[in-house]
Amino acid sequence: MAGRPDIEAVFRAEYGRAVAVLVRFLGDIDLAEEAVQDAFATALTRWPQSGVPPSPAGWIITTARNRAVDRLRRESSRNARHAEAVRLYAPDAPPEEGPVRDDRLRLIFTCCHPALAPQARVALTLRLLGGLSTAQIARAFLVPEPTLAQRLVRAKAKIRDAGIPYRVPRAADLPDRLSAVLAVVYLIFNEGYSSDAALCVEAVRLGRLLAELMPDEPEVTGLLALMLLVEARRPARHDADGVLVPLPEQDRSRWDRALITEGQELVRRCLRRGRPGPYQIQAAINAVHSDAPTAAATDWRQILALYDQLMAVAPSPVVALNRAVALAETEGPAAALDLVDALGLGSYHVLHAVRADLLRRLGRRAEAVVEYGRAAELAPSEAERAFLERRRTGDGGGRPHGDPCHPAGSPE
């Protein structure tokens, strides 16, 4: 007998697909969500007796559509667009598998439309494609639930009233629009990296979905590879006390080999296309780290070369800082310190952590202590603060450095 957990699994896996199809049927996001939620509510009462149907997604979509059509027929006051939807989609039309693929892609581009505020894009994507509840999203982003609910309502109203289209952008617009989509997924991943691991899992799921829907876009593959390779290190990232363990000191036997293998394979596959973008290059940097059996065996020359490439396609002070870390390994701490001192990242804790480490390696212990203190003050999480405090008081000998992979650059 199928239990409740099965239905939850189906919900997480199929909610986005069902909403996407229903949005196309109905031309209305709210109505689509209600219909899909209705269908899942029905599943909760039916499936424990009847068992999970062979095609749960098909069952949910058909049920949701029938519910929506019944409802629209009852509510004669609905506008002409809905009446048309009822007329176009007879309740016994079979669910189409082909267009379903495109429906989800359409919905992602709608959720991540540049006319929406970035926070609204993140919330909509998690809500409509991830099936996360308003409460879950609000918790993850430390926003009061009513604020987040309001943000979702406004975004959906703008989609409807401003006429944000429900379609995949034409080829000429795709590079721009795709980068907005990738940025949303990566933002979700980064948020999870420092707060809630469930968000990382969701981001990886969305990354897999995008890679499945757009197999020919190397940056899509690159982003998925990047997330998998960073996620692979999660088990080794904190010690038993919850204190951050920096990359060079991590117990590499605790890294998730399956994720690393998959990530590396994806890196190779997308780089073969010869169109390296920022996500592919960051993924490649992480692949080099994952290749090294020990921290000492890390191929820093290759990493430095990749940072040079990253600076060429997506220069930023954070990338320059991470490049300086690689330079310290190949040219020594003095050269790196000159670079770091030229960067304007005063309130960025990683800058101070890197600087402290370079000073320590140059034997300037007193200055290093001050810098570790500054880094600890600015650190966003307790795990990082605890780690930097340990360094400041000279407990533990290894060295921190900017996480070469993580754009936020926290010292993993």
Partner: protein, 116 residues
């Protein structure tokens, strides 16, 4: 088809462009209007005199009060507008993008309430 208003956002108190630059902008704006007409998207377009030419009429106790000056003083004002027909926001934004390049000024794109 939906209707969208493209508003030209003009900075207040700025120095106007030099005559040659202005002539080029006017040519670009005219070319933009021609393109709108050719595409069947043109409804209406026009520039506005400055806010110092504005008069505000305010209802008061069944009467109407006439005052000199704009309704609201601001760092920016409405410099002109263009009313277009477009299938959706993407299409309207594409026209807005062209308008921004032609006028060299920020353009606000807003949908009209649907008319049924």
């Amino acid at each position: 088809m939906k209707h969208y208003l493209l508003s030209v956002v003009q900075p207040a108190g700025g120095t106007p462009p030099a005559p040659e630059a202005l002539a080029e902008i006017m040519r670009d704006v005219e070319a933009f209007n021609d393109e709108l007409r050719a595409a069947g998207a043109w409804v209406f377009a026009g520039g506005l005199h400055g806010p110092e030419t504005a008069t505000v009429l305010r209802p008061k106790d069944g009467d109407v009060l006439v005052t000199d000056g704009p309704y609201a003083e601001g760092k920016e004002y409405l410099g002109g507008l263009c009313l277009i027909r477009a299938a959706d926001l993407d299409e309207a934004l594409e026209w807005g993008r062209k308008a921004a390049l032609a006028t060299t000024l920020p353009i606000e794109v807003r949908p009209f309430v649907d008319q049924h």
